[in-house]
C-alpha cells in the first residue's frame, strides 16, 4: 500500500481555537509528556505544510508556555523552516519549571498505553527533543539540553528565537492576534539564559500557540496540596518506625499512582509490570490488548478485571499481596466534583490509564485500602487522618487557568468546550517520516 498521509488541514483544525490561535492538549484527557510532544510535532508539521512550505513570507509565532510541549513546538518550527520567528513566553524564571528537580516522579513515554504494543519501550523515539524514561528531573534535563542544541543549530539570528521569562501582566487578545506583557528578555547561552532588565511590550503575531498545559492543580483549603511534580517522601519507608494513615482523594492517574506508591513496597512505575507478570508478561499483554480493542469492554474495565481475576491476574495478585506496605494505612476517598461517584466500579471508567486501574483493582482485592464516599471532611475525621496526610488529586481547572491570560470570549469558550467533548487531538504521529531536520546534521 502507499503511505497514508493525513491531510494537514484536518490536523491543523483539531488544534485551532480561533483564527491564528491554537492550543496543544489542554482540553484532552489522558495527557502525558509524550502525547503532548506528539501533538506539538503534529501541529508544527501541519502549520509548516499549510503556511510555510510554499510561502516566502516570514511567520511570526508566539509559543505561550515554557514546558516540554512548548519547547517541542518551538524546536519543531525552528528546524522546519528558516522563515519562522519564534517568541516563547514563560511565566516562571526558567524553562520546564514543573519537572526540574522532580526526583520523586517517574516518567515513561508510553507506559500509560499499556498493554498495547510498544508501550513498554523506554524511549520516546521522537525526532525532536527525544528522551528516555527516567525521573522527571532527568527527563527535564534531557529536554532542556536538546532544546539548547536545537536553538544553537537553528536559531542563527536573534529574530529566530526570543525568550521572555518572569512574566507579569501577560495578556492575549486573540481577535487582534496581539500579546502584551511585562517580562525579562532572556539571552540564551546554550541551554541557559541570562536575563535582561524587565520591559513592557505589546506585539502582534501571525500565529499564537498555547502550550500552557492545564494550570496548577485545584487546591482544597486546610489540606496538603503540593503540586504533583513537587518532591515528597511518600514512596520512602519512614525511619521512625511509625505506621501512618493517608487519605487520597480522586481517581485520575495522579491519585492512582500515589495509591501505588503508598500501598506497594518498592514500587517503581517502570518495573511493576515485569514484577507482576514476569514470564507471562507478553501473553498477558496480548490478552488484555485484545480485550481492550473491543470498545464496549474498554469503557469501564471493572468487569473485565473481575472476569480475569482467577486466571490472568491470579499470580500477579499473589505477588502483590506480598508487597503491601506495612508502614501505611490508606483510604481512597471517592466523591467526584459533581458528587457523581457513588460506587467503586465507577472509577474503572476512562478516567485513568488501564495500568493504574488494573493495579488499583489488584490492590483492592488484596485489601490494601479502605473506601470512603462521604464528604471529604467527614472522611478525614472518621479515618483519623492527619490533615497533612490528605492528598487531594483533583486535576486542574483549565478554563480558569486560561482566563488568567486569555480573553475567553463566547466563541473561544464554545470552541474549547467542543474540543473537550470531541477529544480529536489524537496522539498519533501524523507527520511524514523524516520531516524534521536534526541538529546533528547541521
Amino acid at each position: 500500500m502507499s503511505a497514508k498521509i493525513p491531510d494537514p488541514d484536518n490536523v491543523e483544525r483539531t488544534f485551532r481555537v480561533f483564527p491564528n490561535l491554537y492550543i496543544i492538549g489542554s482540553m484532552e484527557r489522558g495527557v502525558t509528556i509524550y502525547s503532548q510532544q506528539v501533538r506539538a510535532h503534529n501541529l508544527a508539521w501541519a502549520l509548516w505544510e499549510l503556511r510555510l512550505k510554499s510561502s516566502r513570507q516570514p511567520l511570526r509565532v508566539a509559543v505561550v508556555g515554557g514546558g516540554i510541549a512548548a519547547l517541542t513546538m518551538a524546536a519543531c518550527l525552528l528546524c522546519l523552516d528558516e522563515k519562522v520567528e519564534i517568541t516563547l513566553f514563560e511565566r516562571s524564571w526558567d524553562l520546564c519549571p514543573f519537572q526540574q528537580g522532580a526526583d520523586t516522579r517517574w516518567v515513561h513515554p508510553r507506559i500509560y498505553d499499556w498493554p498495547f504494543a510498544g508501550s513498554r519501550a523506554p524511549s520516546a523515539s521522537l525526532p525532536v527533543l527525544d528522551w528516555t524514561e527516567g525521573r522527571a528531573s532527568d527527563v527535564a534535563r534531557t529536554i532542556l539540553r536538546e532544546f539548547g542544541r536545537y536553538a544553537r543549530a537553528f536559531a542563527t539570528t536573534e529574530a529566530r528565537l526570543s525568550v521572555y521569562l518572569g512574566l507579569r501582566n501577560f495578556q492575549i487578545n486573540a481577535a487582534a492576534s496581539q500579546i502584551s506583557w511585562v517580562g525579562h528578555r532572556a539571552v540564551r547561552h546554550d541551554e541557559f539564559f541570562h536575563l535582561e532588565e524587565p520591559e513592557g511590550k505589546a506585539d502582534e503575531f501571525d500565529i499564537i500557540v498555547l502550550a500552557t498545559g492545564f494550570g496548577t492543580e485545584t487546591t482544597v483549603p486546610g489540606y496538603r496540596m503540593e503540586s504533583y511534580w513537587r518532591n515528597e517522601q511518600l514512596g520512602q519507608p519512614p525511619l521512625d518506625g511509625a505506621q501512618r494513615r493517608y487519605l487520597i482523594s480522586g481517581f485520575g492517574d495522579g491519585a492512582l499512582v500515589d495509591i501505588c506508591r503508598l500501598a506497594i513496597e518498592r514500587f517503581r512505575q517502570d518495573t511493576i509490570v515485569y514484577e507482576l507478570f514476569d514470564e507471562e508478561l507478553d501473553e498477558t499483554e496480548t490478552h488484555f490488548a485484545q480485550a481492550l480493542s473491543d470498545p464496549g469492554r474498554s469503557q469501564n474495565v471493572f468487569d473485565l478485571l473481575r472476569e480475569n481475576d482467577d486466571t490472568w491476574l491470579r499470580i500477579a495478585r499473589e505477588r502483590l499481596r506480598n508487597r503491601i506496605r506495612k508502614d501505611t494505612r490508606i483510604t481512597l476517598h471517592l466523591l467526584g466534583r459533581r458528587r457523581e461517584v457513588t460506587n467503586f466500579t465507577y472509577i474503572f471508567g476512562p478516567y485513568s490509564s488501564f495500568l493504574h486501574r488494573l493495579i488499583t483493582y489488584l490492590l483492592y482485592r488484596c485489601g490494601a485500602f479502605d473506601l470512603d464516599f462521604s464528604e471529604l471532611a467527614v472522611a478525614v475525621r472518621s479515618h483519623q487522618v492527619d490533615p497533612t496526610n490528605v492528598l487531594c488529586r483533583y486535576g486542574a481547572n483549565t478554563m480558569e487557568h486560561l482566563k488568567k491570560f486569555l480573553n475567553v470570549s463566547r466563541p473561544i469558550a464554545s470552541r474549547l468546550t467542543q474540543m473537550k467533548q470531541q477529544q480529536l487531538q489524537t496522539p498519533n504521529r501524523f507527520w511524514i517520516p523524516g520531516t524534521f531536520p536534526h541538529y546533528s546534521n547541521r
Binding site: 500500500m1 502507499s2 503511505a3 497514508k4 498521509i5 504494543a117 510498544g118 513498554r120 519501550a121 523506554p122 524511549s123 520516546a124 523515539s125 521522537l126 525526532p127 527525544d130 528516555t132 524514561e133 527516567g134 517503581r268 517502570d270 518495573t271 507478553d282 498519533n428 504521529r429 501524523f430 511524514i432 517520516p433 523524516g434 520531516t435 524534521f436 531536520p437 536534526h438 546533528s440 546534521n441
Partner: protein, 234 residues
Amino acid sequence: MSDQFNRNPEPVPAASQLAVMPFLAAVDGFLRRVHDVPRLRTTMHRAVNREGQLYLQQVCGYVGSDGLDWRGKVGRTFPVSEGIMGAAFKTRRIWRTKMLPTVKRVRELLAADIKKTKDGRDPATVELSFLAIPFLGPQDEPVLILYAGCDELNFFADDERVSSVAAMGKGFCQLFDWLQNNKPFLNLRNFPLQKGQPVEGEPTVYASVQEAVENILPPKFQSVPSFNYEAAAA
C-alpha cells in the same frame, strides 16, 4: 513514492545501533581481507512500524574504512520497495549486482535502469556492486536487511564471498536468538515492534543489473520477530 518520504532521521535507540555495528565492522574487515575495496560501505536496515505502517529504517551509519558515516544517515526511513533492499524485502532472498563483463557495460545498464526508476542518481557515480541480505524472522518476515555497496566490478558476483557474509549473518541470528530466549542483560531488552502494513511504491531495484541469489539462503532468526534493542533504566 520516495518523494513522500523526507530524508531526515527518525530516532533509532543507541542500543540497537550498537548491536549491529560490531557485526558490520566484522563484515567490512572480512570483505577487505585480501585487498582494500574502493568505496566499500555497509549498513543495516530494519523493518519498523509507525502507526500501523511498515517502513525500512537505517539502523546505523555506514561502516567503512573511515569509521562510521552517520550524520544524516542513521534513522532515515524508506518505503519497503526502495532499491535493492526493496527487492530483498519483497522476495525474502539475497540480492546482488550480477556478473557483468566490463565497467562500461555496468554503466550502460545502470543508465537505462536509472531512467526507468527515475531515482535521479548519476549512472557515472553509482557504485558498481551492491549486496542486500535479508535477515528473516520466525515467520519469514524480513527483520533486518544488510546493505553493502562498493566500486569494484563483480565484487558481490562471487558466490563464495556472498555465502561467507550470509554465514556470518547466520551466526549473528543465532546469537540474538539466544539473547532473546535467555535474556542475560537485565536492563537491555529487545522491545517488540508492532507488525504493520508495508508501505511501498514502484520498485526501484536496478532490474538489468541486479539479481536474486537463488543458491544461497538468507540468514534466519528463530525467535526474533523485530529488532528494537533499548536500554531500560531498571
